[in-house]
């Protein structure tokens, strides 16, 4: 029954960082396995970037340890750590050509000129930027700069690649392209990717596992499906996707249970009219449509429940058009869902981060 733990690329133990009296990071424990594509997700100010900067070595922790590949690097300088970073603003050296930028890490590690040129050209090719080596960063578009930053970090074959909001500065179209591309590159090079994002969709689509940060702590760690389908706390339910919470009076009336429960909007089936009833394994709640938001492939219905509270139901626009659905505003409806899709979540108020 003993299984060998996979090697840990990153291990954080009791990591804290205080700026004055504010705890930016209030005790984080985290293990990231070799080869994982791992996302740290959270709103701005939740401490995720500070954790990243402590792993890179730009900030030293107030308490706790950082281990890379089993080695304690807590007190080491950035240049003594086997990690490389793709910065949010890319931080390309403006006075160097693209090739010189990519070569930089190898140059300062005294790799012979011919060898480093070859590896740099290879890295540029892997991000589809052949032929751009002689340009200056200022002559590149945002997406190209982003790929140069990626090549500059990957060429060093670090143990862990850190990415700080890597796609934040790109427009939507490019961002979606780069999401796919980053994933492909990661699979190809097999390096552990640890990236920070405030975009829940990005975290869900790209990563093997996600840690959701709030107020300097981790609320939940899990696969995207676990995080989305089984949010552990009200914060996770709300931050990842739309939180549909049923609590208090409504929970007693609709579910016959005490506590707070979450049902994702797409799990709800909307039945128009008063006559419908739920199946044996189903729960249902009657209400009135107060708002209809047509969004192309799907429509969001905001339903005020008779029992109190409101739920949002997402329905595919399989056969209807915007004309049909907007007419439903004010209609009586029944929301129906399977019991397995409702989850109890910890509704106790979150502990405030400790003040030092």
């Amino acid at each position: 029954m003993f299984s060998v733990m996979p090697d840990q690329a990153v291990s954080l133990r009791g990591l804290r960082k205080s700026f004055g009296s504010v705890d930016a990071v209030a005790g984080v424990d985290l293990d990231i396995a070799d080869g994982e594509f791992f996302a740290m997700l959270g709103p701005s100010g939740s401490g995720k970037t500070t954790v990243l900067r402590m792993i890179a070595g730009f900030e030293s922790p107030t308490a706790g340890t950082v281990e890379l590949g089993g080695r304690d690097v807590t007190r080491l300088a950035p240049f003594e750590r086997d990690v490389n970073t793709v910065f949010q603003d890319y931080a390309l050296f403006p006075h160097m050509s693209v090739l010189e930028n990519v070569e930089y890490g190898l140059r300062v590690k005294k790799v012979a000129r011919a060898a480093r040129r070859e590896r740099a050209l290879e890295a540029l090719a892997s991000v589809r930027l052949e032929g751009f080596g002689q340009r200056r960063p200022a002559q590149l578009s945002g997406g190209q700069r982003q790929r140069v930053a990626l090549a500059r970090a990957l060429v060093n074959r670090p143990r862990v690649l850190l990415l700080d909001e890597p796609l934040g500065a790109l427009d939507l179209k490019l961002r979606e392209e780069m999401q796919v591309e980053l994933k492909a590159i990661q699979r190809e090079v097999g390096i552990t990717f640890l990236f920070v994002t405030h975009d829940q969709e990005e975290a869900l689509t790209m990563s093997d596992r996600v840690a959701v940060f709030n107020q300097g702590r981790i609320e939940q760690v899990g696969t995207p499906a676990e995080i989305y389908e089984r949010p552990a706390t009200a914060f996770v339910a709300g931050f990842v996707g739309t939180s549909n919470l049923i609590s208090g009076e409504a929970a007693r009336a609709v579910l016959g249970k005490e506590g707070t429960f979450s049902v994702r909007p797409e799990k709800l089936r909307l039945v128009v009219g008063d006559g419908a009833t739920a199946g044996p394994e189903e729960h249902s709640a009657a209400g009135t449509v107060s708002e209809v938001v047509y969004a192309g492939p799907a429509t969001r219905f905001v339903v005020e429940l008779d029992a109190g509270g409101r739920l949002i139901a997402l329905q595919q626009n399989l056969q209807v058009s915007s004309m049909d659905v907007t007419g439903l505003r004010g209609s009586r409806v029944l929301l129906v869902w399977h019991r397995q899709h409702e989850f109890a979540i910890a509704d106790a108020p979150l502990p405030e981060p400790a003040r030092s």
Binding site: G57, P78, F79, F87, A91, R107, V108, A153
Partner: protein, 265 residues
């Protein structure tokens, strides 16, 4: 913003007047250096290169020029070193009295030269017992030359942020390598601009120089001042003044272009 026709005309006149007040007299100096009339009768009675020739051959002028260049280079070197270090300290580190230090570094450029002059002269003379000479002139000039380098480097560091240096450290470069390959190249044009301004400041300084140069050390401005009221030397003085106008344009022009370039990055 759109201005009315009258406002535009008035502003143009104001600009022309303002620039005229500054540059017409300078043009007169330049013209007079070719005026064949020894007393600068106006309009010039004829063109001559005689005064330029005699200025070129004057050992007084040559010695003074060489002294000025030495003083300028010396003061600029000190300013580059101290100004850069001070800018790093103030921009990169938090320490007790940081704002005060910043103020104290910038203050000398606003202090009346005569105060700086007397203060330095007294200190050199009576407190330190250092004989006045070229060295004391260099130190005197450096007190205010530091400011131009300090301000330029400070502004550049502020704009640069820490991102590039962090990227360099992240890629494996130690602190010294990062300075050599990233920080210094990024500062180069700011250093050049600050250095040129420092040199220009030192080159035309007269008050502090008067108090710190002692006997025998004569910078170009001092030489001009001494010969100003000798009727014989008037045309040569005028030539020196004309030459200085031309020479001053170069470093200021370069300094402006360098800071302009850095801004468009």
């Amino acid at each position: 913003m759109n201005l009315s026709r009258t406002a535009r005309a008035l502003l143009r006149i104001a600009l022309a007047l303002g620039l005229g007040v500054i540059y017409v007299p300078l043009a007169v100096v330049l013209l007079n250096s070719f005026n064949s009339d020894r007393t600068f009768g106006w309009p010039p009675s004829g063109l001559t290169f005689q005064w330029w020739r005699s200025a070129w051959n004057s050992t007084g002028v040559r010695d003074a020029l060489w002294t000025s260049i030495q003083a300028g280079l010396g003061a600029t070197a000190i300013a580059l070193l101290l100004g850069t270090m001070a800018a790093f300290a103030v921009q990169r580190y938090r320490f007790f009295g940081r704002d005060t230090v910043s103020l104290l570094i910038v203050l000398p450029i606003a202090l009346p030269g005569i105060v700086t002059g007397i203060a330095l002269s007294n200190t050199f003379h009576t407190v330190l017992g250092v004989p006045l000479g070229l060295l004391t002139v260099i130190v005197g000039h450096a007190t205010f030359c530091v400011v131009t380098v300090y301000n330029n480097v400070l502004a550049r560091l502020r704009r640069m942020g820490r991102g590039l240096e962090e990227a360099s450290a992240d890629l494996g470069a130690d602190t010294f390598t990062t300075f050599r390959l990233v920080t210094f190249p990024m500062l180069r044009s700011a250093l050049l601009a600050g250095g040129l301004l420092a040199f220009a400041l030192s080159f035309d300084e007269i008050i502090v120089t008067t108090f710190t140069s002692g006997a025998g050390v004569r910078t170009l401005p001092i030489w001009i001042f001494e010969n100003l009221f000798r009727p014989n030397q008037a045309p040569v003085v005028n030539v020196v003044a004309a030459a200085l106008i031309v020479f001053s344009v170069v470093p200021i022009y370069l300094a402006q272009r360098l800071s302009g370039e850095a801004q468009t990055h």
